[in-house]
């Protein structure tokens, strides 16, 4: 058990380190209004609808860091939550795109879309709706 705790602690340290190395931001179309952390968490855990959500690949460290920072949930929890929503047809899961560049491109093209990328990746084509420091 102690070993598991060490591993968990190490994992959290690594996540924290990864997040520090590159802060995350939630981005939207230029016409979108800013969002709170709670709003983003509700959207990405399927508690509220109304935006087209974009996701990063499961293997990308940014994905785990994003969900941890926004909701405190790890990826298996997120997956269990979404399996509940998907298999009742309640909500559509976020659409997975290959990388931050693809997320940016999709957000710039559709006013109803939001995504998350590294802060350093932001440019004039998108608007920062929430800065996750």
């Amino acid at each position: 058990m102690k070993k598991t705790l060490y591993i968990v602690a190490l994992g959290q340290l690594l996540l924290a380190a990864a997040a520090h190395a590159d802060d995350l931001v939630v981005i939207g179309n230029a016409a979108s209004s800013p969002l709170t952390k709670e709003q983003v968490s509700d959207l990405y855990l399927g508690k509220s609808q109304g935006m087209k959500l974009l996701d990063q690949p499961a293997a990308a460290p940014i994905k785990a860091a994003f969900y941890q920072q926004v909701s405190g949930h790890d990826l298996s929890q997120v997956k269990a939550t979404w399996s509940r929503l998907i298999f009742t047809g309640k909500a559509q899961p976020p659409k997975e795109l290959p990388d931050s560049a693809a997320v940016k491109k999709a957000v710039a093209a559709d006013a109803k879309t939001i995504g998350y990328v590294e802060k350093g990746a932001v440019d004039g084509s998108v608007k920062v709706l929430l800065d996750l420091k």
Binding site: T36, Q49, K79, A80, R84, F87, G89
Partner: protein
């Protein structure tokens, strides 16, 4: 099945509507189609051969000989999203007990507003806090829902309409769901009955880490059911005296109702769940009326989530109660289990339970065939149950 075909026809009709304006090809290519699935593979063994341990309305289950049918299932779901406000979902589930498979969901969903949705077709009634994803093992912490609560409902799928409205309240979500239609009542004791004019509602309040809900459902139930086989005899025959059994069928008509309250907490690593439900009958309270509740607490250590639960159901023993005629009886279960998110899209669960049917047939044991018809099996004392499952999604 007829309904599914009808929905299919309706869908193809709808895709045809704007087709004359442009070409159907570009419209079809805009349909966002997804195929997903879930399943559980598991085995259960108990400490007794005196009764078979089951889940829900299964006709057979586990004894000292392990049984795989108790928790195992496989579901496939297809969803087609036509526009931002129109989607269709159909799901088929296979379990060993349902020989032809079942269709828990097959509906068209219209979202005229972000906060409003209308489902037309077949939906699962929100009887409990976790009615909708009850069969999706991967979606839940427990290995199996506490039967003292979840086996009490005989209302499940609704053929009709469900309207849901969600209202943001100071950073939280309040949602109201109302539904109406027809259903089929399935009880292990009396088989199948019609459930017409089913209707109900659910009020739900969701915050970042807590969900509170209250629900009510009712249905007009009727059907010709076999109460029991009545022994006639002894009749003298050339082969000696024999006893004949004459089926005693009876037409029953009733109003079933169901109410429930629940609280779900998921905060940091703490998981807590509690529900209280009550099943009522207008005309046969001694057969139907029962109360059930459970509490569950768990904690996440990384990929491991151990949990403890206690559940109890109390049968209303007044007003015409008979041990052989009741839909379910008294029982309590203390359980300890663990969910291990061992793989990317699969978990492994283990659960050990101490089931006390308090000298009755309880709720977790299969009825047995006798010359008199189906009768409750009464385990000799408490029963220990050990289960292991693998839940997966794809």
């Amino acid at each position: 099945m007829r309904k599914v075909i009808a929905i299919g026809a309706l869908l193809s009709a709808m895709t045809q509507v704007p087709a004359h304006a442009q070409d159907a090809g570009s419209l079809l290519s805009n349909i966002d189609f997804s195929l997903t699935g879930y399943g559980t593979a598991g085995t259960v063994v108990t400490s007794t051969d005196s009764a078979q341990f089951i889940r829900g309305n299964e006709s057979s289950g586990a004894t000292k000989s392990p049984a795989e049918n108790v928790d195992s299932n496989l579901g496939v779901q297809a969803t087609a999203r036509f526009t931002s406000w129109l989607a269709a979902t159909a799901q088929a589930e296979y379990t060993k007990d349902a020989l032809t498979g079942v269709v828990p969901w097959a509906y068209l969903k219209l979202d005229p507003l972000d906060s409003l949705s209308l489902k037309l077709g077949r939906v699962e009634m929100p009887i409990f806090a976790i009615s909708d994803s009850l069969d999706v093992g991967y979606a839940n912490v427990w290995l199996r829902p506490p039967q003292e609560v979840y086996a009490l409902s005989n209302l499940k799928e609704l053929n009709g309409a469900e309207l849901s409205y969600s209202l943001p309240v100071a950073g939280t979500h309040l949602s109201l769901t109302a539904y109406a239609g027809d259903t089929v009542i399935w009880t292990q004791r009396y088989g199948q009955m019609n459930g017409n004019d089913a209707r109900g509602g659910e009020l739900k309040w969701d915050t970042q880490w807590v969900t509170l809900r209250a629900g009510y459902a009712q249905a007009h139930v009727d059907g010709n059911i076999l109460i029991e086989n009545i022994p006639v005899g002894p009749i003298p025959t050339p082969l000696g005296n024999v006893t004949a059994y004459v089926p005693y069928n009876y037409y029953v008509e009733d109003i079933y109702s169901f109410e429930g309250f629940g609280a779900l907490v998921d905060h940091d690593n703490i998981i807590a769940q509690a529900e209280w439900v009550k099943r009522y009958s207008q005309n046969y309270p001694g057969t139907v009326n029962a109360t059930g509740w459970y509490v569950l607490g768990g904690y996440r250590f990384g990929t491991l989530a151990p949990y403890l639960s206690f559940a109890k159901t109390v049968k209303d023993h007044a007003d015409g109660y008979t041990a052989s005629g009741t839909l379910s009886d008294d029982q309590s279960t203390a359980a300890v289990g663990v969910r291990w998110d061992a793989f990317k899209s699969a978990d492994i669960k283990f659960q050990a339970e101490h089931v006390n049917p308090e000298g009755t047939g309880g709720v977790s044991f299969a009825f047995i065939n006798s010359p008199l018809g189906l009768l409750p099996a009464t385990p000799s004392g408490s029963v220990n149950v050990f289960s292991v499952t693998v839940d997966f999604i794809f």
